[in-house]
């Protein structure tokens, strides 16, 4: 159970259970509430707040820092689950006393996290048409999506991303002093399952180990199921909900800069913080900023292009794949000296061994596995089409494992029976470890239409399983040349099926491909390691 941080003093509480854990809130809710308290305490130093704590129905998003928190009226479905009086102990402008009087806020914690069904994510008539087409003709639907990607990609990639002009001053004017506790500001998308988030939390832990207090700011609507992770113990978490009023934004950041001795900023896919970097650099030009990038997104460029736009106020772009390095330096002309390649090789491979793979007999069925979230990006429906194609054409008994869950779960279940795969396909949820699926698999298929460098590819390599993957993102850094298959649905299915049939018929060829994959993984593992680079960087910020 987490306590209130030192920037606030608890005056009274009801229903929350901060003192003894006995309350109406669970640990996730309590941490989200503390996150809201952190924001308000930093944005309005010295003030006393009475916070009415609301809870919404399952799946609703929290409202913690936005303008709605000032309203003392709420929706019919919001129940009051707590009340809290705290005082901000943050000191800012010296010599002036904060105004007296109680600030009343109504903080809505939202509901229980829910895996939203994609069925409900496309509202309106067009949404109805789209989801119907996707459900009944997923492959054809995907063909159209890939063509759209081709067109927009071609158009988009032609232009260079405009860059924000640099901050020319080398010293910011001083309005206030700052606290003594060394801190690092982290900008994180949200606290949910994800590769970038996993690494982000690792860096939060590294910051703590180096002696910093991490200030973790998230900027996307979420129920933040990962807010209870141990890496965040002792961190000042601020889950922003928008719109935050402009004066509150600067007041909040000023609060952070005055309450702590901020030594650096580390972004992990955070649009909000990225857009405030020019201001931060104008206040504190000395503040080093690093931005960790994971994936180049089709169509919009995503966080990578935001990073390019802000390159003049970012000191180091940390990239986890050679492809991102080449994109920044070669395509966007970012100064190579500012681009640091440091990889996440083997981030999640601990405990995965090849024992099971070696022990596998050649007599049983050949097992083809899919591991990943059921999302549009991962395209589980293409895997199912591939399975259907293989089922009818393999020379040996064949079975399939689909391991995952997510918003397309409905479509996946429907398609399994429609394609007649029920007898040869096993669906596994997150209750089973991925290591077990990899131990059972003869080949892993990655059907995504976009990726950075999938952690499951590393896991598969560690487990001695060859990977057939779409040739997207940095998958070429790990996957054998012949096993990189086209992104477009029909060529994907035919090429992947052909390669897998070759593996079934020729264990020697499968081994050749696996050896090539292992060789690539070994070469990749020799590239600089992200954790080491981050640790060294943070330690440099202490000096």
């Amino acid at each position: 159970m987490d306590k209130l941080p030192e920037i606030v003093e608890l005056l009274d509480e009801s229903g929350i259970g901060l003192a003894d854990g006995e309350g109406l809130l669970d640990e996730r809710e309590r941490r989200i509430l503390i996150g809201a308290v952190n924001f308000h305490a930093l944005a309005r130093p010295g003030r006393t707040f009475r916070i009415t704590v609301l809870r919404g129905p399952r799946g609703t998003m929290p409202s913690l820092t936005d303008d709605r928190t000032r309203h003392i009226e709420w929706g019919d479905d919001r129940e009051v689950v707590g009340s809290l009086v705290v005082r901000s102990t943050v000191q800012t402008t010296s010599g002036t006393n904060p105004p007296e009087g109680l600030v009343d806020l109504a903080v809505d914690l939202g509901g229980e996290p829910e895996v939203a069904s994609a069925y409900h994510q496309l509202p309106g008539l067009m949404g109805k048409v789209r989801r119907s087409v996707r459900f009944f003709a997923p492959v054809q639907f995907d063909v159209l999506r890939q063509y759209r990607t081709d067109v927009t990609e071609k158009r988009y990639r032609k232009r260079e991303v405009p860059k924000k002009a640099p901050v020319r001053i080398t010293r910011g004017t001083t309005a206030t002093g700052h606290g003594a506790t060394p801190a690092i500001i982290f900008g994180i998308h949200w606290l949910e399952l994800g590769g970038a988030e996993r690494f982000a939390l690792e860096t939060v832990q590294l910051a703590k180990e180096a002696g910093f207090t991490p200030i973790v700011i998230t900027d996307r609507p979420s129920t933040h199921p990962w807010i209870t992770r141990p890496e965040l113990d002792g961190a000042i978490v601020v889950p922003l909900t928008h719109p935050v009023s402009p004066e509150q934004e600067s007041a909040f950041l000023n609060g952070v800069l005055s309450a702590y001795d901020v030594r650096g900023v580390h972004l992990h896919h955070s649009t909000w913080l990225a857009q405030r970097l020019p201001w931060l650099k104008s206040i504190r030009p000395d503040l080093p900023v690093i931005d960790s990038l994971h994936i180049l997104e089709w169509r919009t460029g995503g966080f990578v292009d935001i990073s390019v736009r802000m390159t003049n106020v970012i000191d180091h772009h940390h990239v986890i794949s050679p492809m991102l390095r080449d994109y920044l330096v070669g395509k966007q002309g970012v100064d190579p000296a500012k681009v640091e390649l440091a990889t996440l090789a083997n981030l999640t491979t601990k405990g995965i061994g090849q024992a099971a793979a070696k022990a596998k007999s050649d007599d049983g069925p050949f097992t083809v596995a899919f591991v990943g979230r059921f999302t549009q990006q991962k395209r589980p429906y293409l895997f199912l089409q591939l399975a259907a194609s293989l089922k009818g054409s393999a020379s040996r008994e064949i079975r399939f494992i689909v391991h995952g869950d997510g918003e397309l779960a409905g479509e996946v279940h429907g398609l399994v029976s429609r394609l007649g795969l029920s007898d040869v396909l096993e669906l596994r949820g997150s209750d089973k470890p991925v290591a077990k699926t990899l131990a059972d698999a003869d080949v892993l298929v990655i059907s995504s239409d976009n990726e950075g460098l999938t952690l499951t590819s590393f896991e598969a390599t560690a487990a001695g399983v060859p990977v057939v993957s779409t040739d997207v993102g940095s998958q070429a850094s790990l996957v054998a040349e012949d096993l990189l298959v086209p992104r477009h649905p029909y060529p994907f299915i035919s090429t992947a099926a052909e390669r897998i049939r070759t593996m079934i018929n020729s264990p020697e060829q499968r081994k050749t491909w696996l050896d090539e994959q292992a060789g690539k993984a070994a070469a990749f593992a020799k590239l600089p390691d992200a954790r080491t680079w981050v640790r060294d960087t943070y330690e440099g910020w202490l000096k």
């Binding site: 794949s321 050679p322 492809m323 390095r325 080449d326 994109y327 330096v329 070669g330 395509k331 002309g333 040739d471 940095s474 070429a476 850094s477 690539k520 070469a523 990749f524 590239l527």
Partner: protein, 299 residues
């Protein structure tokens, strides 16, 4: 420090190849990798390659069919890129590089970039024939302001395009502009590619970097020289250049090219049958418009 992958493309030239490779391996600034692309040679080249296989940094790519110089360079440059090299340094299998050729290229490019205040997309060497005179076939075409660096005391000339005989390309140029067009097979692939990367700025010929091109005769390319035995090469040249002039320049440049070919053939009194075959290839060039392949980032 920057890394360099030297790329040598070879086809049925086992007698000259060892000398080429030895010159690369004896460079004062040794490349980190030597990528040798064997275009499915049938003269026993593989025996030569086996002697080099296993040497530190030597990477041999054996193709199953002859893909021409264009295909070989695209393959080799892609391999160098995949290995993570910051530069690729490419040459033919009859090019002997002076021992400081690479060092001078790398330094010359850096000096030129510093003076120009911008990144330059390629640096090429001065190419001599075996008797020490200039190699007629491998002369780059200069820019209008070719003497800009000479005026600043450098022995570097600004150029628009050059042939693939000792050229250094920085990695970013491959990322931004892709690989040479495999489909060209042979001839004009070098000019098309260097003109393509030239969109990012001029190239530079580093006069202190010298290589020897061991050609049988020292003669440039001219359509007046077409005969039955060399026709096949000119056919590729006609198709490729026609395609380039039309699709990457304009119809006027295309028309000028047609006139140039016609005048060359007429001047050389080339038989009508051969002329007709070449003009067919020019017509083929109207439809022929391959797109560049982008290299993959692996390391």
């Amino acid at each position: 420090m920057s890394t360099v992958a030297a790329v040598v493309v070879t086809y049925n030239r086992k007698d000259k190849l060892p000398k080429v490779l030895d010159h690369v391996l004896a460079q004062s600034r040794k490349p980190e990798w030597l990528v040798i692309v064997d275009n499915a040679s049938t003269d026993g080249t593989d025996e030569v390659l086996k002697r080099y296989e296993g040497l530190d940094g030597v990477v041999i790519v054996r193709l199953t069919e002859n893909t021409g110089g264009a295909g070989g360079f695209a393959t080799g440059m892609n391999k160098g890129y995949e290995l993570g090299a910051d530069f690729v340094w490419i040459m033919d299998d009859d090019c002997y590089a002076n021992s400081d050729a690479l060092e001078e290229l790398v330094n010359g490019l850096a000096k030129a970039e510093a003076e120009m205040g911008m990144q330059l997309p390629f640096a090429c060497s001065l190419v001599r024939w075996v008797d020490g005179s200039i190699c007629e076939m491998n002369n780059p075409v200069t820019t209008w302001d070719w003497g800009r660096l000479i005026a600043k005391g450098q022995e570097n000339v600004l150029v628009q395009h050059c042939s693939f005989v000792s050229v250094l390309f920085p990695r970013w140029a491959l990322t931004k502009h892709g690989l040479p067009l495999r489909e060209y097979f042979i001839w004009f692939d070098d000019q098309e590619y260097t003109l393509r990367v030239n969109k990012s700025g001029p190239g530079v010929q580093v006069l202190r970097s010298v290589v020897v091109h061991d050609l049988g005769v020292n003669r440039g390319v001219n359509f007046s020289d077409v005969n039955a035995s060399n026709l096949w090469k000119f056919e590729y040249g006609a198709r490729n250049e026609a395609s380039y002039r039309l699709h990457h320049e304009n119809p006027v440049a295309f028309a000028k090219f047609v006139v140039r070919v016609h005048q060359g053939l007429k001047g050389g009194r080339v038989p009508w049958g051969l002329r007709l075959k070449l003009f067919r290839k020019i017509v083929e060039g109207v439809k022929f418009n391959p797109k560049p392949e982008m290299p993959r980032s692996v390391l």
